[in-house]
């Protein structure tokens, strides 16, 4: 069996992200593995251990994304690969998905591709579905549990957490899944894993290595701006009784057109 986790480094969730004077987003704190991917990595390690298979961690991005790959190796995945090419600067999700799909094909024999629920920095999961489409694999989002997986029979049964409730779905492998926090308790890196990760030489594949052409982009980011500053004010409503205070508050709210 071969499980592939697709990841990226994102700013730490505690970091303060701002757009600087040159129009570039910047943040305090170091990059960390996309928080959702901690669950994807842990699930891959658990599957690998249970089924004596192989697990790979993959990213498309600049060198700073090695952080996420090394974290995956330190937690227990077997190998890592990174795709990068200058033609990918500012890539949209479709070009990103093409690169991921081509890299998965280059790795070969993937039975299961695991994503975290979304990329925390972009707040988007569209790439999950695009990658699945490019690969021609089934796709299962919002997975809260792998109920059964049979790599020999090429079947998977998962529990999906939906707004309507839990849904049990079976599918054929290979498949792409996107996992939720409920799926496991993220593992820490082991010290042996850390040593392995620190020594690992991670191959970097260009678009040419993947037989891809960047082509024309469907969408392009033209500018980043800081969100408008929200200025708040606190006013204490005074009054002799609760009823008087409530009446004054209601008047104020009507005046402010809140109600």
């Amino acid at each position: 069996m071969h499980v592939v986790v697709v990841t990226k480094s994102t700013p730490d969730t505690a970091a303060k992200v701002t757009v600087d004077a040159s129009g570039k987003p910047t943040w305090t704190e170091a990059m960390v593995i996309n928080p959702w991917d901690e669950y994807a990595v842990t699930e891959a390690v658990l599957l690998k251990e249970a089924h004596k298979g192989q697990a790979t961690i993959l990213t498309v991005g600049t060198e700073e994304h090695n952080e996420a790959l090394k974290q995956g190796l330190a937690i227990g995945l077997d190998q890592a690969a990174r795709v990068w090419d200058d033609a990918l600067v500012g890539a949209d999700s479709l070009l990103y998905a093409k690169a991921v799909a081509a890299a998965i094909q280059k790795l070969g024999n993937a039975d299961l591709v695991i994503f975290g629920k979304e990329f925390a920095d972009l707040g988007s999961d569209v790439h999950v579905y695009q990658v699945a489409r490019k690969l021609g694999y089934a796709v299962l989002g919002s997975v809260s549990k792998i109920v059964e997986i049979d790599f020999a029979a090429k079947t998977i049964k998962v529990e999906r957490m939906l707004e309507q409730g839990k849904q049990i779905v079976t599918s054929k492998l290979p498949a792409v899944i996107a996992v939720l926090k409920d799926i496991n308790e993220p593992k820490y890196p082991s010290f042996i894993g850390i040593r392995k990760a620190a020594k690992a030489e991670i191959p970097v594949w260009s678009l040419a290595d993947l037989g891809l052409d960047a082509g024309t982009r469907q969408t392009q980011v033209s500018a980043y701006t800081n969100p408008p500053k929200i200025e708040g004010e606190v006013e204490i409503i005074e009054g002799a009784s609760a009823a008087e205070k409530a009446a004054k508050l209601a008047d104020k709210l009507i005046e402010a057109k809140v109600i």
Binding site: K70, Q71, A74, Y188, P189, S190, F191, I194, R195, A198
Partner: protein, 407 residues
């Protein structure tokens, strides 16, 4: 000269930080109030490999260097001193002594399970009436055939009721001159007949930890549990302190960082006189000092760690680092409380705990006064470190990471 930490150092540091912050921090106040140790702490530190972090893989450890130990201690004490205390006694004062002085058989029997986290270890030097004055100890060990009969009482023992193995010092010769030449070291296990232990409550700080006493009444300790030679105990104890103090100093650096980080956060949150308090110059002065203490303390500790890695004697440097970092951690905690104002005086914020916890470390493992005497002694030429029979082995990554013992 190289001040860069390696990728391995940084990843190990982050792993320990994540553990401490995610698993210990959320409930630390409750355990501190209860004056009990969170029962998950020791098993989790064992499972994650922290209890064997700098012990060679062939002895059940993780094969990292001595600098990693300091980084781990900094991260642990950033969250709570009691976590670092575990490393001081289990690793610094006990496991590293086995690595340094133990026979191969002793390493297999005691160090391997300790490094794997299957057994917890502690250290018994201090007595109710013998602290800094080590040679005044009254515990005795009388040889009878293949065993020593140990009697005496030890006090202020971290993990007294949690540890399985104790490195205990007792006098095999009560008339030796000088008195310290009569001290011998033994490995005593909690299951030995005549060994009893208990907790001490009502401490100012390290309340989420375990501090206690143990008593030995005619405890029969086999000869093969003697660490080093008869009469060598004092030198073993002092070498243990070179390692224990290193962990205490490294932890104190973490405590200064805790004071600094919490104060910076509060400076941005709290406003007085129409501006956030970080804009007030007298508050800025406190922040600047805390940053200075952190930077200086950390440099002293990491230099000591580097010396340990190189196999250089570091008694003088360890003493300096421990003295400086612990003294400054108490000052940093006082300043952090001052910055937090009345809130800092209550346990709504963590800074009052930092002060209570930090105060212990200027007393144990050499009071600040002992370190001042040592430093003056070195500077004036009154004190010189003589070579000891077994030095702490230099860090050799190849040996440390080798999987099996090559015979």
């Amino acid at each position: 000269m190289d001040f860069l930490l390696t990728e391995e150092h940084l990843m190990a540091q982050k792993m320990v930080r994540d553990f401490a912050q995610k698993e210990v921090y959320p409930t630390i106040k409750e355990w501190d109030r209860k004056q009990q140790m969170n029962p998950d702490v020791l098993p989790r530190m064992g499972e994650l490999g922290i209890l064997g972090i700098n012990i060679p893989v062939m002895y059940g450890g993780q094969g990292f260097d001595y600098i990693t130990l300091a980084l781990a201690c900094e991260e642990l004490e950033r969250v709570d001193t009691t976590l670092r205390v575990v490393m001081s006694v289990h690793m610094g004062l006990n496991s590293m002594a086995l690595l340094q002085w133990g026979t191969e058989e002793q390493k297999q029997r005691f160090l391997v399970p300790q490094a794997k986290g299957e057994k917890y270890a502690a250290f018994g030097l201090t007595e109710p009436n013998a602290g800094s004055d080590v040679a005044a100890m009254t515990s005795t060990a009388r040889r009878e055939g293949d065993v020593y009969i140990l009697n005496g009482e030890k006090m202020w023992i971290s993990l007294a009721t949690k540890a399985d193995n104790f490195l205990v010092f007792a006098k095999t010769d009560t008339h030796a001159n000088p008195a310290h030449a009569g001290i011998t070291a033994f490995i005593v296990t909690k299951d030995m007949k005549g060994f009893t232990a208990g907790d001490i409550h009502g401490k100012l700080g390290v309340r989420a930890g375990s501090t206690g006493w143990f008593a030995m009444e005619n405890v029969e300790v086999p000869v093969e549990n003697r660490l080093g030679e008869e009469g060598e105990g004092f030198y073993i104890a002092m070498s243990c302190l070179d390692n224990g103090r290193y962990t205490v100093g490294a932890g104190a650096v973490g405590l200064i960082r805790a004071c600094l980080e919490d104060s910076i956060k509060y400076c941005h949150e709290r406003s007085t006189f129409g501006k956030e308090i970080g804009k007030h110059q007298l508050v800025q002065q406190k922040i600047a000092y805390m940053q200075q203490w952190y930077d200086a303390g950390r440099l002293l500790i990491l230099k000591t760690g580097w010396m340990k890695n190189m196999g250089m004697r570091n008694t003088r440097e360890t003493s300096m680092a421990k003295w400086y970092a612990t003294d400054m951690s108490v000052k940093a905690a006082l300043e952090a409380i001052q910055i937090h104002g009345a809130y800092g005086f209550s346990d709504e914020y963590d800074v009052e705990r930092y002060l209570r916890n930090g105060k212990g470390a200027v007393i144990y493992e050499g009071t600040s006064e002992i370190h001042q005497l040592m430093q003056a002694g070195y500077a004036l030429g009154y004190r010189v470190d003589r070579p000891i029979r077994c030095e702490l082995p230099a860090y050799d990554p190849e040996v440390w990471q080798r999987e099996v013992v090559v015979s």
